[in-house]
């Protein structure tokens, strides 16, 4: 850690905790996140670089967010550089295909954390009841599960495993309460649980 550079920096920007008069107020969190992940358009970026030069508050938030991101293992971060651009390009092409041909494609490097819930319908119920295993490793079953998710507008691709929190048993009652499938997808593993709505 460099204490002298920190000191010099701290002296240069000690007092103000807000932007100068006439400047836009602080950088919105959504833009700050885009900036940290290198996803901000160049016009906005330039404006924010100017703002960060004067605003201690925004610089501190940027720095703290960068620290948080850096604490995440590199394998969990999005691709960068040439390959990152190729992936972005591929995703753009896929989007065009999706719009024109009704096919849905999902950019893999943004699939790190998806959280969603769905009402348990017949298709979901059937796949859950296929066997008692809590961890699904069979590619066929996983692919069919992916297809169900995609049908329900949950953009997922490349699942390696599905983990069911507790065995699923169907309630056989005429007045059975509605069930909900809670899904959390992280690092290509789907963690699922059925709860009552």
């Amino acid at each position: 850690m460099g204490k002298w550079m920190k000191k010099i920096d701290g002296q240069a920007m000690q007092e103000p905790e807000s932007g100068s008069a006439g400047e836009p107020s602080h950088i919105p969190a959504e833009d700050l996140a885009d900036m940290v992940d290198g996803r901000l358009d160049s016009k906005k970026r330039q404006a924010y670089i100017t703002h960060l030069d004067r605003c201690r508050h925004c610089y501190d938030l940027l720095s703290r967010t960068l620290t948080d991101v850096e604490s995440v293992p590199s394998a969990d971060r999005p691709a960068r550089g040439l390959f990152g651009n190729i992936r972005t390009l591929a995703a753009s092409i896929a989007l065009i295909v999706a719009i024109s041909g009704g096919v849905m494609f999902y950019q893999r490097d943004r699939s790190q954390l998806i959280i969603a819930s769905l009402p348990v319908n017949k298709a979901i119920s059937q796949i859950l009841l296929e066997n008692d295993s809590l961890t699904w490793k069979g590619q066929d079953r996983i692919s069919r599960f992916e297809a169900i998710l995609i049908e329900n507008n949950i953009p997922v691709k490349g699942l390696d495993e599905v983990v069911l929190k507790a065995p699923y048993t169907q309630t056989k009652s005429f007045f059975r309460p509605k069930e909900k499938l809670n899904i959390r997808i992280e690092n290509h593993v789907a963690y699922i649980e059925v709860t009552l709505e």
Binding site: G38, L40, D68, N182
Partner: protein
């Protein structure tokens, strides 16, 4: 459609909020209040804040940014703007500097001592300093949990920055005597003042805040290679300025 409720209730988010409140507040009640405040704010207005997610960054990055913002909001709500406690004001300028360095900027007391000497705010020995800061240590500091527990963990707080972690500019300044340190700090500041905004941000992120060059490159919208090259050029410029003033030599300023 993202399930924001599940996102807030996820272990990762709750752990993050808990961690942030623990880092930024020393008092257990403050930590608990901070925790509830942030969760409340994330859920407020039917997840209004979370629903502003742009879908460009990763959702985790957005949650980090939001939570960091909310910690600051909570601090302001609870304590208002930063002010020196009465006892610090009474002790004068040198005490205010120590308080700012240790409480607000989270430097160690040893670093604060070095800075005071360079800033000409203190002329005593280290032993004098240790005795003079006794009163400062009794002042409250909501921002730095270590500040109030200084007596319990003296070794940590009094320890100086380890030299093997220093960046090239810090390594150079650390080796100088007090007079030259004073001059070097001034020259580096002047050099930073004349740089383009993007260059200054690059230096601040990498050397002032210890971020990775690749992360700084992301912020600036350039490749890591470009950032490394730029950093090297900027360091050379600073080095030349220092050399002109008789500070450093090619052997003491390594740029790699």
């Amino acid at each position: 459609m993202m399930d924001f409720r599940a996102l807030i209730c996820s272990e990762a988010t709750l752990d993050l909020v808990r961690k942030k409140c623990r880092i930024y507040f020393s008092d257990e009640n403050d930590r608990n209040e901070c925790y509830l405040f942030i969760l409340d704010q994330l859920a407020a207005g039917n997840y209004q804040k979370l629903s502003k997610y742009s879908h460009q960054s990763r959702i985790t990055t957005y949650v980090y940014a939001l939570v960091n913002n909310l910690v600051v909001d909570f601090r302001r709500k609870k304590y208002g703007r930063r002010r020196f406690p009465a006892i610090i004001k009474r002790l004068g300028q040198w005490a205010q500097a120590v308080y700012r360095y240790v409480c607000w900027q989270q430097f160690s007391y040893a670093d604060a001592y070095d800075f005071l000497l360079v800033d000409n705010l203190y002329a005593g020995s280290w032993d004098d300093f240790l005795s003079d800061i006794e009163e400062i240590r009794t002042a409250p500091c909501a921002q730095n949990p270590q500040f109030v527990s200084a007596h319990a963990g003296e070794d940590d707080l009094l320890e100086n920055t380890r030299s093997e972690e220093l960046n090239p500019l810090d390594m150079l300044i650390a080796k100088l005597d007090r007079e030259k340190q004073r001059l070097a700090v001034q020259i580096v500041r002047e050099a930073l003042d004349t740089m383009a905004e993007a260059d200054r941000l690059l230096i601040r992120l990498v050397y002032g805040s210890d971020h990775k060059t690749s992360q700084a490159a992301n912020v600036l919208g350039i490749s890591p290679q470009q950032a490394r090259r730029r950093l090297k050029t900027l360091l050379l410029e600073i080095k030349e300025n220092l050399l002109k003033n008789g500070i450093g030599s090619s052997s003491t300023v390594r740029l790699s």
